[in-house]
């Protein structure tokens, strides 16, 4: 990273999230930066990616001559299968999500509150696309990591005292990774703690750009 640049890039944020992966984990990755986490799975561990449209063991994008319209991920992109892949229907897929069988999910968010609430599915007044599987994921997956920019395009904090947007889930977030810092909490009754900062970022800057209460 050059002297002038400050904070983590999208890829560095994804790489930071990948450090939370453990050998044997079953993981669901959201769309956007979370998808990049797949590129940073440590070589010495096995992680199985789940796609909520009905697949375990997501492989890389296919070669151009192996594109198959019957084989897509939850973002509706063409993918490939792996030797250990398995297919199932949507009810079984969300059975494994809701039933607590998925170890970790990485999601984007518009807002996260200091109590672990997350908002990432609708902005009142704008066309609503729907929540897809996000509400099921935050309700059922064992560990919820949010990866998002620390502030909005207007510079407004996104880690805030309480969400202003309609919630996706209540008191569900375990870890927040932004371009500036990492916040974590050991359980859903504890406050978030500032555990890491990007190179060149100071505690004062984090404090200035965060309205949520956190432990330093």
């Amino acid at each position: 990273m050059s002297e002038e640049s400050k904070g983590w890039t999208r890829n560095e944020m994804a790489a930071r999230a990948a450090k939370e992966l453990q050998d044997g984990f079953y993981v669901n990755l959201g769309i956007g930066i979370p998808t990049l986490v797949a590129n940073y799975v440590p070589k010495d561990i096995t992680v199985t990616l789940q796609s909520e449209n009905g697949m375990l063991g997501i492989g890389p994008f296919p070669y151009p001559d192996e594109v198959d319209p019957d084989l897509i991920n939850a973002g509706k992109q063409t993918i490939s299968e792996l030797p250990h892949s398995a297919y199932f229907d949507s009810a079984a897929s969300f059975g494994m999500i809701r039933g607590g069988h998925i170890d970790l999910t990485v999601l984007g968010a518009m807002e996260v509150a200091e109590n672990g609430d997350i908002a990432n599915w609708m902005i009142p007044g704008k066309m609503i696309k729907g929540m897809g599987g996000a509400m099921d994921l935050v309700a059922g997956v064992k560990k919820i990591i949010v990866v998002m920019e620390h502030t909005s395009k207007n510079g407004d904090p996104k880690f805030i005292p309480s969400c202003t947007l309609p919630l996706t889930g209540r008191n569900v977030v375990d870890m927040v990774i932004t371009d500036l810092a990492v916040f974590q909490r050991p359980d859903h009754d504890s406050p978030f703690k500032l555990v890491e900062m990007a190179p060149g970022v100071t505690p004062e800057e984090i404090a200035a750009k965060t309205t949520a209460h956190y432990v330093s």
Binding site: V67, I72, Q77, D117, I128, K129, M135
Partner: protein, 235 residues
């Protein structure tokens, strides 16, 4: 027992009427009942409610029936990029019930299994919970969601035998299984009908008891929303 019909139109005969609640399989454009949707559009049936994860895209999938204004209401988790959908929705011409994806799948599964309601943690404390019963189990809140009992199920599969045992292919299975089970009558369109005995009984994804009518829908369009590929490594 004769489940095989010569065309999608024939398979829908005596079933269609205005105002039906239809459960449809598919995720995005993957595994959607293309021919049955075409035939429903051509039939002119209207005021339909669709329980379907998505609403197709402009003039693909259920989008074909949106364009002709045959849909009154969608029960979906994600309606994506669909200009005509957006226009009708904002104009108040189309009703939408947003339902979390897993809850939608389970509502179909429950309906098909004779379960009128179930409690889930999904959506607790959100807009989805508004107006729904909340019950505490083990110190945690859950909301009551209702099973879907559809008038008609339309699904797409890979192969069926002549008795309606069905197999799907890869991620095209998706909502097709739960959607199939929750309708009073289920019509499945397939790429190929195979003789009884040629499917492994241990590898049937949807047993024939859930299937009343079968039609071959091939050739298929199988549109892809986002084609993503990687380069082949140089040898």
């Amino acid at each position: 027992m004769k489940k095989i019909y010569p065309s999608a139109e024939a398979a829908l005969e005596g079933v269609l009427k205005d105002g039906l609640l239809v459960a449809s399989g598919g995720f995005g454009l993957c595994g959607i009942p293309e021919r049955l949707l075409d035939a429903m559009r051509d039939s002119g049936v209207k005021d339909l409610t669709f329980a379907s994860n998505n609403a197709g895209i402009d003039n693909e999938g259920i989008g074909k029936l949106l364009r002709t204004k045959q849909v009154k209401k969608m029960i979906s988790s994600y309606v994506g990029e669909n200009k005509e959908f957006e226009r009708q929705y904002l104009a108040g011409e189309l009703e939408v019930e947003f339902c979390p994806q897993g809850t939608l799948a389970e509502r179909m599964r429950a309906g098909g299994a004779g379960i009128p309601g179930f409690y889930t943690k999904t959506g607790v404390g959100t807009q989805v919970a508004e107006g729904k019963e909340v019950k505490v189990f083990g110190g945690e809140e859950y909301i009551l969601e209702e099973g879907i009992f559809a008038d008609l199920s339309i699904i797409k599969a890979w192969k069926a035998d002549e008795t309606g045992n069905v197999v799907f292919r890869k991620t095209a299975r998706n909502f097709n299984v739960p959607a199939a089970t929750c309708g009073k009558i289920c019509i499945v369109e397939v790429e190929e009908i195979v003789p009884v005995g040629s499917l492994d009984p241990d590898a049937i994804h949807l047993p024939g008891v859930f299937v009343q009518r079968i039609v071959v829908g091939a050739p298929y369009d199988k549109k892809i929303e986002f084609t993503t590929t990687r380069e082949r490594e140089a040898v």
